[in-house]
């Protein structure tokens, strides 16, 4: 009986939407972390190009975070709709 209740809660409850939002945050963390790692390694290798690298790093981070926010929007639509 409890198993059926749990299955019902998974399919119609909001739990999976919250889980999806967490997974999207994992994707954002890994993506921006990789960008930061590459930028820091390049800046350590050649400190003169630090300004160019900083601008491009911020641009790439904004684009990657845009993708992660698509997932958040879908989860918001599930919870609020």
């Amino acid at each position: 009986m409890e198993l059926l209740t749990i299955l019902f809660e998974i399919t119609t409850g909001h739990g999976l939407a919250a889980l999806g939002a967490g997974v999207a945050a994992i994707g954002a963390g890994i993506g921006v972390g990789l960008i930061g790692k590459a930028a820091l390694e390049s800046m350590a290798r050649q400190p003169e190009s630090s300004d160019d690298l900083r601008a491009n790093m911020i641009l790439a981070a904004a684009l990657v975070e845009g993708v992660a926010l698509f997932g958040i929007i879908i989860c918001l639509l599930v919870v609020l709709g």
């Binding site: 641009l59 904004a62 684009l63 975070e65 845009g66 926010l69 698509f70 958040i72 929007i73």
Partner: protein, 224 residues
């Protein structure tokens, strides 16, 4: 409406001051806005679209940049409600549709040719690539729209959550917990507001940059 009136007044006074004081360094409001205008022209439009073609698209890029920056910044003001317009999907869909319209109308022969007949691709793979390219043509402005809306909305939701946490702790766990949570929550909210300022400028820059990339793609030269 209010934002457009404000922007028009600011930018017209800036343009008039250039003709009233020729050859001198600008002062006042013009001094503040001039680096932003030059930034859009020299760092976004000219490197991507090219020197001679940038003039055609520069009015739209400047309008978009200043509108998005002003709307994002005004949407952060807490008590006067109703200013968060770039967080609503109705405003951003119009901006994205404008980008789509301009890039489609200005598409030259190379653009349409590369869309329906991609070069350097074997004939069988062309059957697979052409629907993807056409779908991408519609998807790219949609992605622009969702990126801007989601970034603005997410920031506001985080700030609202921290405020609501204070009230929730107050109701469920008593006054002392509410007070302690209030101190902690206020610090986090101040930090989130600084982050929102950065995101306001950054999202305007990303939107304008991607619009410039789509325009450059639509007016591309033939290269072999």
């Amino acid at each position: 409406m209010f934002i457009m009136t404000l922007l028009v007044l600011m930018l017209r006074s800036m343009a008039k001051s250039y003709s009233k004081r020729p050859g001198q360094a600008p002062k006042g409001l013009t001094n503040v806005l001039e680096p932003l205008v030059l930034f859009v022209r020299d760092d976004i439009a000219v490197p991507i679209i090219g020197k001679h073609k940038a003039g055609k698209f520069l009015p739209f890029l400047l309008t978009t940049f200043f509108f998005i920056v002003a709307s994002n910044l005004l949407g952060l003001i807490p008590f006067i409600g109703g200013f968060n317009i770039t967080g609503t999907i109705g405003v951003t869909v119009v901006l994205a549709f404008a980008v789509f319209f301009i890039s489609t109308v200005n598409g030259n022969r190379n653009y349409w040719g590369h869309l329906f007949w991609p070069p350097g691709v074997p004939n069988l793979v062309k059957l697979l690539v052409v629907p993807i390219e056409v779908f991408g043509m519609f998807l790219k402005p949609t992605v622009l729209m969702i990126r801007l809306t989601a970034n603005m909305t997410a920031g506001h939701i985080i700030i609202l959550s921290f405020v609501s946490l204070v009230f929730i702790f107050n109701q469920n766990y008593g006054e002392i917990a509410g007070f302690g949570m209030g101190v902690f929550s206020t610090l986090f909210m101040i930090f989130m507001y600084f982050l929102e300022l950065l995101v306001a400028f950054l999202q305007a820059y990303v939107f304008t940059l991607l619009a410039a990339i789509y325009f450059a793609d639509a007016t591309q030269e033939a290269h072999h």
